[in-house]
Amino acid sequence: MIEFIAGYGDYIWDWLPEMAIASLQTLQLMVVSFCLACVLGMIVALLRISRFGVLRAIAKIYIGFFRGVPVLVILYWIYFALPEMGYEVLVISSYTAAILGLGIHGAAFLAEIFRSGIESLHRGQMEAALSLGMTPAKAMSYIILPQAIRVVVPPIANYTVGLLKETALCSIIAAPELMLRAKDLASSSFLPMHAFVLAAIFYYIMSFPLMRLAEHLEVRMGAGR
């Protein structure tokens, strides 16, 4: 154990700041992908509960597909396949590809969470709102969605923890984030274990507050019903 820590030697002075910066890149990647996934997810969720069968079907297929396929496949497709197929115009940076990949993939999970949230509400709520003379749209805005938000926050917090970990996969398509930095440092120093353990520590530092927040929300909002 002591040997291990000693092994870091002088590298640690370079590694700490570099990994810290890379961690910020990871957080940025996570936040931007999350926003994309949220927006897309909401759209897909609304399609999923639409009264038009066609829209519902499209949403179902989207959700079923992206939930059943690893995010890595999507990342590869966006980053490697599109340019290789000759669509030069779609050559995008690895960073953009990462955001698109994580966002499009995540939207499927968030759509399910949103849908579950809305459907978990008793049908009586919608009926009461309609009976009082609200249009379905108003009922959604003032009665259903405010309640649904409370229900979806814990699972969304959980999803966010998973998203943070997924950013590590973006190193495979060379997006600038912590894992990529760790790989670089590992190969240039021939101390892979040290590099990756330090990276793991940084990841844990980032995910720890998120995990605690998710647990706290689970307790607060879960018990409330």
Partner: protein, 255 residues
């Protein structure tokens, strides 16, 4: 005077099961109509068709001579848009068996949300109206409480206040006391009795035969999707003509 509510040959099927088999009746302005009958007789479905929570398979409903839930365009019957339907429903008050209060809103907000958001009533006026209605049902002191802190009877009274705040022409009660513990039923029936005394038009689906007898002008016994018998409370409850009616009543009254 024209009847306030006209139900004409209403049929409703859920898949292959026909729940309403051609119901027709009128309700006069200020009349209190009670509907009794065994479960599965279609009485709740009938009520839910009146405010179009259920779409009838065939037949028509008129309130104040206006067609409900549909309109005639070039002689054909056409569905209403969401907005038109919402406007019609605003004039009908529906009280649910399970109250269906909005848990994320206080009692006061439960009562003001529909006037404000559906009718566009300004906040100050909506609040004033709401407090008056809560006062009426005896719950003004609970205005800031949330539904989870209220007893069943209190929740149902708030639900009634919520409906009254919309100033509806017609009040529909779907087994309003069936989900309540026995000791809480009285407070809700008291409110309903007061509303009846005010001359409101009410259609009440209930198991409370005693209450139906006291409050109604007319009682309808439904079974198998249609009206089996109707008459004044005295006629139905003391001197029912049909076998089925009498069997039902004897089972209920024995309880």
């Amino acid at each position: 005077m024209d009847p306030l509510l006209r139900i004409v040959d209403l049929h409703k099927s859920f898949g292959s099961l026909e729940v309403l088999t051609g119901v027709s009746t009128d309700v006069a302005r200020g009349e209190k109509l009670s509907i009794i009958g065994p479960s599965g007789s279609g009485k709740t479905t009938l009520l839910r068709c009146i405010n179009y929570l259920e779409k009838p398979t065939s037949g028509h409903i008129y309130i104040d001579d206006k067609l409900i839930g549909e309109k005639q365009v070039d002689g054909k019957f056409v569905h209403l848009s969401d907005r038109e339907l919402a406007e019609e429903r605003a004039e009908i008050g529906f009280v649910f068996q399970r109250f269906n209060l909005f848990p994320h809103l206080s009692a006061l907000d439960n009562v003001t949300v529909a006037p404000r958001r559906a009718l566009g009533v300004p906040k100050a006026e909506a609040d004033a109206r709401a407090m008056a209605m809560l006062e009426k049902v005896g719950l003004a002191h609970k205005a800031d409480e949330f539904p989870e802190r209220l007893s069943g009877g209190q929740q149902q009274r708030v639900a009634i206040a919520r409906v009254l705040a919309m100033q509806p022409k017609l009040l529909l009660f779907d087994e309003a006391t069936s989900a309540l513990d026995p000791e809480l039923i009285g407070e809700v029936l008291k409110v309903m009795r007061e509303l009846a005394d005010e001359g409101r038009t009410m259609v009440i689906v209930t198991h409370e035969i005693q209450f139906a007898a006291e409050v109604s002008d007319r009682v309808i016994f439904m079974d198998g999707g249609n009206i089996v018998e109707e008459g004044s409370p005295g006629e139905i409850l003391k001197n029912a003509n049909h076998e089925r009616t009498r069997t039902f009543l004897s089972q209920i009254i024995e309880r």
